[in-house]
Assembly symmetry: C2
Homo-oligomer: 186 residues x 2
């Protein structure tokens, strides 16, 4: 297989589209982000990379809390809007209907099927972006998007972000921690 070196890039194969919710000066603000993942199992932690210049950075530093909200395909327009417009220029508090959970300063977007409340654990300065690691305090899920007590990806219908495009999730095709049992050394 011929390989080409494309140089260093901030690349990951598939990324989740989330809305980072913060209060700035007591008002909810939502920013679109895709550089997010799980950081630890026990205690449960997640992380999200946020540019230093973002309005959202101010909210995280102000309160030490933030939320990650998982929009569904049907929220793609307001979701992308929150990536186009800064809270510095426009009040985005009305783009989603906000509610609060256990943390009183991390706004949660009602319309998003999954809302993750986070208490800031650590901020790691990586250059242009600060990686915000947060301990998950509570997760709120739309009842209609659950199966057996957990969020169901086929009902949540999340938005994948890759190469400046939003994609849907495709079909399940193998069980993890199982398919590998078919492996035989050659």
């Amino acid at each position: 297989m011929e390989k080409i070196m494309i140089g260093p890039m901030p690349y990951m194969s598939v990324l989740p589209t989330v809305l980072v919710g913060v209060n700035v000066d007591g008002k909810p603000n939502y920013m679109t982000a895709a550089w997010a993942t799980v950081a630890s199992m026990v205690p449960p932690m997640v992380c999200v990379a946020i540019n230093k210049a973002r309005y959202t950075a101010k909210g995280i530093d102000e309160n030490g809390t933030f939320s990650l909200n998982v929009p569904s395909l049907k929220q793609v327009i307001p979701t992308d809007h929150c990536g186009l417009v800064s809270g510095k220029q426009e009040d985005k508090s009305g783009v989603f209907q906000s509610f609060y959970g256990k943390l009183k300063t991390a706004p949660l977007a009602e319309e998003c099927p999954v809302n993750i409340e986070c208490r800031l654990f650590q901020s790691v300065d990586c250059g242009s972006h600060i990686l915000r690691i947060g301990e998950v305090v509570e997760i709120h899920v739309d009842k209609s998007c659950m199966t057996d007590g957990k969020p169901d990806i086929t009902k949540v219908n999340p938005i994948i972000y890759a190469q400046l495009t939003y994609f849907s999730v495709g079909k399940p095709f193998a069980k993890a921690f199982s398919e590998g049992k078919k492996y035989r050394k050659e």
Copy 2:
């Protein structure tokens, strides 16, 4: 919309399946991981959460380097195998054909369409897992998986991990930084 609180969990809507490549005692080893994302744009950085007890942790601490390899759907059996079996119990150096790039201690899996070479930038102890943040030194891409000089998700055909299941990527349905222009306040 009725919301249910499911408690704190290590949840993210969609996750990329990657193989973390390290040398342990001079021998390549690959571990399946999904808790990975981009950590910064300038300089380009990625991060991956790895359980403290993993054989892979030893390799990262030994060399200060690691790789993230993006398998395609067709590599699902060896990929899942690398998540079922530890390098402590079994020599996994032959599961993929290894090559080396700019870093001489981060093995790259030839069969995977995208290989990301990383120099360890910082390790953040988050509890059960250590978040390994690495600066991207080089990215190698199969020539056949590129469009306009970049990896093309429809050719790479990466594996999404969610709820103990591997999924394919679905269809593109909107342009990012564009679709949101349709947003109108109600």
